[in-house]
């Protein structure tokens, strides 16, 4: 199991994705076609800023911030 093969697991509600590491949190959202204004990115329960680089093996949980009604 090489480090490079380790993907990043991304979870949003009941949806999950696997992406390549090495991109920033903001690029990750863009990559998934999500508007970075409408989501927060957390890693191990901690909020991370836009420019934080996603590492191999990370589990990323996205928090949707828009609520309505």
């Amino acid at each position: 199991m090489s480090e490079q093969a380790e993907k990043v697991k991304v979870v949003l509600r009941r949806q999950t994705w696997e992406v390549e590491p090495g991109i920033t949190a903001r690029q990750l959202l863009e990559h998934l076609n999500l508007n970075p204004e409408s989501y927060l990115v957390t890693r191990d329960g901690e909020l991370i800023s836009d420019d934080t680089v996603i590492r191999p093996g990370d589990t990323i949980r996205l928090v949707a911030v828009i609520s309505g009604g």
Partner: protein
């Protein structure tokens, strides 16, 4: 990205303010900004008890937390709507609120259960009165407004605070502008004065983006209700918020500017200042006393059968929970 104040690693970057902050400095900034908004719009006096309308969502629980941190005597009000729809929406929201209260000893929560008090849940009333094309939102809004006013009045709170954020306000502004709803535009403001004994209404979070209130809740470890009310699916507000965020993504600060320049135009340039309310005479509802334009009873009191409204006064008194006092 580094925190502007201490150079530690930032957890959030607010492009519209060109401001990145670490956890501690973000929490501090957020509380100070709320205090500034309260002061700027003269929302709450130091000696006034505040009733915070809580839904269990991020905005209202974050607001309650900040007001307590700022030293206000802030108590909660929760209306149990009885919305289940297979996901236990209301039960789970209530559980989040009770958990918040348990973590803040001495704070008070006033609860009105719509079904216990008036005999029907929100979806049940909506089905009976057939208002609002299969969605209970119009009945729900009417009941919420009425009960907030009533409870604040009966329990003697001069101020009622809600967790509306800038995205909420900008979405309403956008929708009212698309339709040139002059009456609504003339009234939209972060603070609405009270009248005839009814509480002043304030929105201390009106200058925060929705992602900022969510970030605050997250960083403070506030466990909020993440699932949306099942009836909010397809709501116009959500659509307008997404449109505004599309704009914001390309032009950081566009959303902030849209709302703040509206407020500035009202404050400095007299936008809508001489707009006069078409002379609908407001008078007190003959049953509950809340202001209404219809003669006789208000829309709320017209929702219910007579025997419901004639219950003894005790049945309308909210249940008050105080944890660990």
């Amino acid at each position: 990205m580094r925190c502007r104040k201490c150079r530690q690693k930032a957890v959030i970057n607010m492009r519209q303010h060109r401001l990145a902050l670490c956890r501690d400095h973000y929490v501090e900034w957020f509380q100070q900004q709320t205090a500034r908004t309260i002061k700027k719009y003269k929302m709450i006096r130091r000696d006034e008890p505040v009733l915070v309308a809580v839904s269990g969502g991020k905005d209202s629980l974050a607001l309650w937390d900040v007001l307590l941190e700022l030293g206000y005597r802030a108590d909660g009000f929760y209306l149990r709507l009885g919305i289940d729809e297979g996901i236990g929406y209301s039960d789970e929201s209530y559980a989040k609120i009770k958990q918040f209260v348990a973590q803040h000893p001495g704070t008070r929560l006033h609860v009105v259960d719509v079904k216990e008090t008036y005999g029907e849940t929100i979806p049940e009333v909506a089905r009976r009165v057939r208002r609002g094309r299969g969605k209970p939102c119009s009945v729900c809004g009417l009941i919420k407004r009425h009960e907030m006013n009533r409870v604040a009045y009966e329990l003697g709170y001069p101020v009622l605070a809600t967790g509306h954020n800038l995205d909420d306000e900008a979405a309403v502004l956008f929708s009212n502008t698309l339709n040139w709803q002059v009456g609504y535009l003339a009234r939209q403001y972060p603070v609405l004065p009270g009248r005839e004994g009814f509480a002043r209404k304030v929105k201390p979070f009106c200058r925060f983006y929705e992602r900022e209130t969510a970030a605050y809740a997250l960083l403070r470890g506030i466990d909020y209700m993440y699932e949306e009310c099942p009836f909010s699916v397809g709501a116009n507000t959500i659509y307008y918020k997404e449109l505004l965020n599309t704009l914001e993504r390309e032009r950081p600060g566009a959303k902030l500017h849209f709302y703040l320049s509206f407020l500035r135009a009202k404050e400095k340039e007299g936008l809508f200042a001489d707009w006069e309310e078409p002379s609908v005479e407001l008078h007190a509802c003959e049953r509950c006393g809340q202001p209404t334009s219809a003669p006789g009873r208000c829309a709320f009191c017209r929702l219910w059968p007579e025997d419901v409204l004639e219950q003894p006064h005790e049945s309308f008194v909210p249940l008050t929970l105080v944890e660990g006092a």
